[in-house]
Amino acid sequence: MEINRAPIVQCRGLTKTYGGKTALNHINLNLECGRIIGLLGPNGSGKTTLIKIMNGLLNPTAGEVLIGGARPGVDTKYRISYLPERTYLYPGMRVEEMIRYFQDFYPDFRMDRAYDMLARLQIAPRERLKNLSKGTKEKVQLILVMSRDSDLYILDEPIAGVDPASRDYILHTIVQNYSRNATILLSTHLIADVESILDEVVFIRYGSIVLQAGAEQIRRNEGKSVDRFFREVFAC
């Protein structure tokens, strides 16, 4: 199958300030279709702010972001599957009710895939979300997000709250459940865990993009892993 390499995300002069503090500083960035891209940077570098603007949860101070050529809105929300860094599920609902909720609102939601992943992770569909541990809630969220056939998956710290034993399965789940024409933008600071699945990395610091390169290109040119290279670039 031929992979579409047109940009799914375009940021043009994207700037966000909170009061007097600049969170994003004139970012220009293109992300192509069909790639797994790591958005990497230390805490407070602007990763989550950038992701929230892409999802329409924050408005930029200047510049714009386009998703498939359109500004964030109802149309782009059909195309993006977003996993935030916090738990956004309704605590009073059961897991199966949350699955129905996603199926009701997202036409691209695959219920069979969701139930299959729940079974593999041994999560009971009848369980109420408020009774689940934080890590299990994060797994449920990831299952919901990855059960959609989206064009763009934006995953903000998808494995941060998950035990190491489950991380491999989750990464496997991410890789297995997206179409080759789709893009995954994955923000994390656990680079060593995700490095094996990344096609491309974007380094961000103080709200500016400092590097955008292929993961293999970094390993070849720098002679070290992306994780090691990241530690050197962002050494305190």
């Binding site: 909170y18 009061g19 929230k52 999802n55 329409g56 949860l57 924050l58 408005n59 109802v74 149309d75 929300k77 059909y78 993006i80 977003y82 935030p84 916090r86 738990t87 956004y88 599920l89 309704y90 009073g92 609902m93 909720y101 009701d104 609102f105 997202y106």
Partner: protein, 259 residues
């Protein structure tokens, strides 16, 4: 999508609000028995004390349900729109009009339901031996006459519509204040309260000016149509509904700030 939003809004509110409102029905039943006891003939202090406690609990439960319903609806609006669950709500492929309408309609329906139950409850408590229906008719007549219009069905219906619109305006006022409050970087709830009291003060000033103006006109024109009518309530309600809706929509659409 509006229907789906309303379905989930209803599902997430009824589990708490329906039992709370059923408490009114239960307390009314016991209070009706307690208030109809012939206290002069009862010598048993235990029964007297129990009857008094039932009546006190009845009055207390009315306040708790009324205030609790309002507080819960405000809390739910805030957490589901600007709290953690806002991340889910605002990434659904639905426009902001649908979100606001779904929340406003369901909240208004709950406030109306609670108000209606409390109204009926009070009628039952004070109903004469002839039953509750004559009391209901009497109170409706007083309601319409007090509304300033003629005692007609039209005036009664319009008064009820004005009441519903004024509740909707109040619900949207809270939504607008929470939407404005979330613009603040650090003190979102505090700013929401500040906006609420600021707007409340402004509304009182506008109302005072309106009645002062009518007072002046009435002094000059004998028999001028006075303002305490359903028309004023309806017009003010509609104006505030449109205004607060517009503020809520604008801040959600253009200034959403889920930091």
């Amino acid at each position: 999508m509006l229907g789906k939003l309303m379905k989930y809004e209803w599902q997430s509110t009824w589990k708490l609000l329906l039992p709370a409102n059923l408490l009114i029905v239960v307390m009314t039943f016991f209070a009706c028995i307690a208030i109809r006891l012939n206290f002069d003939d009862i010598r048993n202090e235990g029964i007297l004390f129990s009857a008094a406690m039932i009546l006190v609990t009845y009055v207390g439960s009315m306040f708790v349900v009324m205030i609790g319903t309002a507080v819960y609806l405000i809390y739910r609006f805030y957490t589901s729109t600007f709290g953690d669950q806002g991340y889910l709500l605002h990434t659904l492929p639905v426009d902001k009009h649908n979100i606001i309408i779904a929340k406003a309609v369901v909240s208004t329906a709950w406030v109306l339901f609670s108000s209606f139950l409390i109204y009926l409850s009070v009628l039952f408590i004070f109903a004469s031996e002839e039953g509750v229906i004559p009391e209901l008719m009497d109170s409706m007549e007083v309601f319409v006459v007090r509304a300033g219009g003629p005692s007609t069905l039209f005036a009664g219906v319009m008064t009820l519509i004005a009441f519903v619109v004024s509740i909707l305006a109040r619900v949207l006022k809270v939504a607008a204040c929470l939407s404005l409050g979330q613009l603040s970087a650090n003190h979102k709830l505090l700013m929401s309260f500040a906006f609420y009291f600021g707007i409340y003060l402004l509304q009182q000033i506008i109302s005072s000016f309106y009645y002062a103006f009518l007072g002046l006109v009435n002094r000059r024109l004998d028999g001028f149509y006075y303002g305490e009518t359903w028309e004023v309530t309806l017009i003010a309600g509609l104006v505030y509904t449109v205004l607060f809706y517009a503020v809520t929509w604008y801040t959600m659409e253009k200034k959403l700030n889920l930091e």
